[in-house]
Point group: C2
Chain length 418, copies 2
Amino acid sequence: MLTWEDVKDPHVVIVGGGFAGLGAARALRAAPARVTLLDRRNHHVFQPLLYQVATAGLSAPEIAAPLRRILRHQANVTVLMGEVVSVDVGRRTLVLSDSEMGYDYLVLATGATHSYFGHDGWAAHAPGLKSIEDALEIRRRLFLAFERAEREDDAGARAAWLTFVVVGGGPTGVELAGTLAEIARHTLTREFRRIDPSRAKVVLLEAADRVLPPYPPVLSQRARRQLEGLGAEVRTGALVTGVDASGVALGSERIAARTVLWAAGVAASPLGRSLGAAVDRAGRVKVERDLSLPGRPEVFVAGDLAAFEQDGRPIPGVAPAAMQMGRHAGANVRRALAGRPRAPFRYVDKGSLATIGRKAAVADFGRVHLWGLPAWLAWLGIHIFFLIGFRNRLFVLLDWAMAYLSYERGARLILFDE
Amino acid sequence: MLTWEDVKDPHVVIVGGGFAGLGAARALRAAPARVTLLDRRNHHVFQPLLYQVATAGLSAPEIAAPLRRILRHQANVTVLMGEVVSVDVGRRTLVLSDSEMGYDYLVLATGATHSYFGHDGWAAHAPGLKSIEDALEIRRRLFLAFERAEREDDAGARAAWLTFVVVGGGPTGVELAGTLAEIARHTLTREFRRIDPSRAKVVLLEAADRVLPPYPPVLSQRARRQLEGLGAEVRTGALVTGVDASGVALGSERIAARTVLWAAGVAASPLGRSLGAAVDRAGRVKVERDLSLPGRPEVFVAGDLAAFEQDGRPIPGVAPAAMQMGRHAGANVRRALAGRPRAPFRYVDKGSLATIGRKAAVADFGRVHLWGLPAWLAWLGIHIFFLIGFRNRLFVLLDWAMAYLSYERGARLILFDE
């Protein structure tokens, strides 16, 4: 059997199997290189739908697919599961938790995680949403809270179990708050005997003066109204100063809540700092116009880990930007392999969508702004279209159709680590 | 709001939301009683398909449904999530981990778990399959083993990662071994670059002289041949004397295997012993003909926790028996509430089915024995029919149809506790 070590082509290593990493791998299809894709997990996650797993609307396998399955027909790619600890750019070597691996070209696309702005103690009380594991942990807490409330005799304690605080009014926070309000009002109807789930309080806290700050103000306003229509309470200009097991502090005010979800800060993967190059405040690596590391033309950074400004503004940490950067980094590796000049990256913004709940969403397509049902339909269509794998598309479509008809959410399991 | 505590009807408590507990709850529909169903989990699990979750053919939510969802239209039932620690039959009180609860009638249906025959140290190295959590742990180990093999340079170590031992040749063991062989031969084709998954070794160990011991010998023979046809190695008369991280010992022989699954012993829930009544060797509670506890007519035991002999033989620990016992216990509570005499339980054996893999199964319908495709089709139809919830039936049907066409298994996620 011929193994990849026997091939003498240049070795391109891609670290990270998210949108950027997969984009790079695909751009290197049939390239004269042996490509290794390294990831800590065995699966690609369709991050825009993670909140659906967290709220039991979809099951985890519906939004994830094994990386080696996705890339099985691309014969020059080897997928390996492993954890990269640091990059030694001088030796062109990756340090893994259990070994080392050399490269001729590197595409680093390890993305971002949540940041608690230096308050790491908050993490235990306010989980964020970046991985499937995170989503399952949030699902567990949400549905366990209703169970605890049903068994609680003390009215104050019961109210705290029935108060859900979402910190951060970006797209993820808006999605979580809207869906949670819907679950309380509609999904759990008739299931409880001692509590009334529709009295659950869902509070969305945003430090800025409006939700969805990157969107045009008119859409922020629409999003807020739709959230309030679903029964969520929206508080802007609300700066969280403390989070513990019993709730959230806003200066001298306290909100008693047993469930707090974190959708506020973003911090780039710590791997970026090991490159020894300049990073911005969130830890993102500043890259050249071709996405390579300054002074290291064989190293590319793509996706949420890269800091790239265009027309004076950083490009946003969204899936389409990551895909485009990944593909571009892969194409530039290809150009370098062929001895051709590299191309500068240019982000093409095709618009932004954020969903809020049933028939509630906002969409910003530049001059066209949509909200309500039209935005929601656009959101549904685009998300089905970009899901990887026919099976996932079919199952998500069916799950959404059934949820639309019945308000039922099919994945309401409370699982425990044992 | 009128809560269940205000109602003065007799209080019937059902412990356990498996087939027996749900059967009892349904038999008490519209009975003049307030019924409390207590379970440690929030969901009912369709246990006959657990092995499909363990082998990534189905996602967990496809074979589980929230108990309160199932029972939401039954107004006299309150579902509570809680852990019962012991039963104080003298005080007619359940001791929970955090409180106590009185009852007028009790249906105890907490089922069984796996037993390592006194070798509890084996549990860490050879997980069993009783809960969704167990299934996800097995799934993690199976697919992680192939990942580790792909990264392993040493041939011996690689072979140990590619050796899968299933201990126990009952229905669960046969299902796991057959499916594993199929995954190695078909599902993972073309996905790996350094290993050949089809060389993975799947070994089924059974201490008796044939697999599926409760079945007629001819079907045991058929099952063995079908397993071997799928590529599994079947060893009967194989008594496991040791299990550790590096493999399994059979007397002086060792099988080097990094993945060992346990499908051998069954032990009844420890709650049975707290009743203070006679139990059999597996900890099952010996019950009267009406399924009540000797000397305690207000306490019933149903499902895998009950030891019940019929025609000189214990009735088997299978889903149909649990359903029938649960329904019967509920009906007897109803009779007692109405002051009518109780009826003796009689198990109606409608036959047994065990699946092995694609188009491979055995079925024992008394005088009719089936194997191969006909048995497999019977197995498929019956399992779809008995799944709870339209959504689950639809999704499982679709998943199976797609798996049949493509050999793909949709839930191959390796998840970690973090």
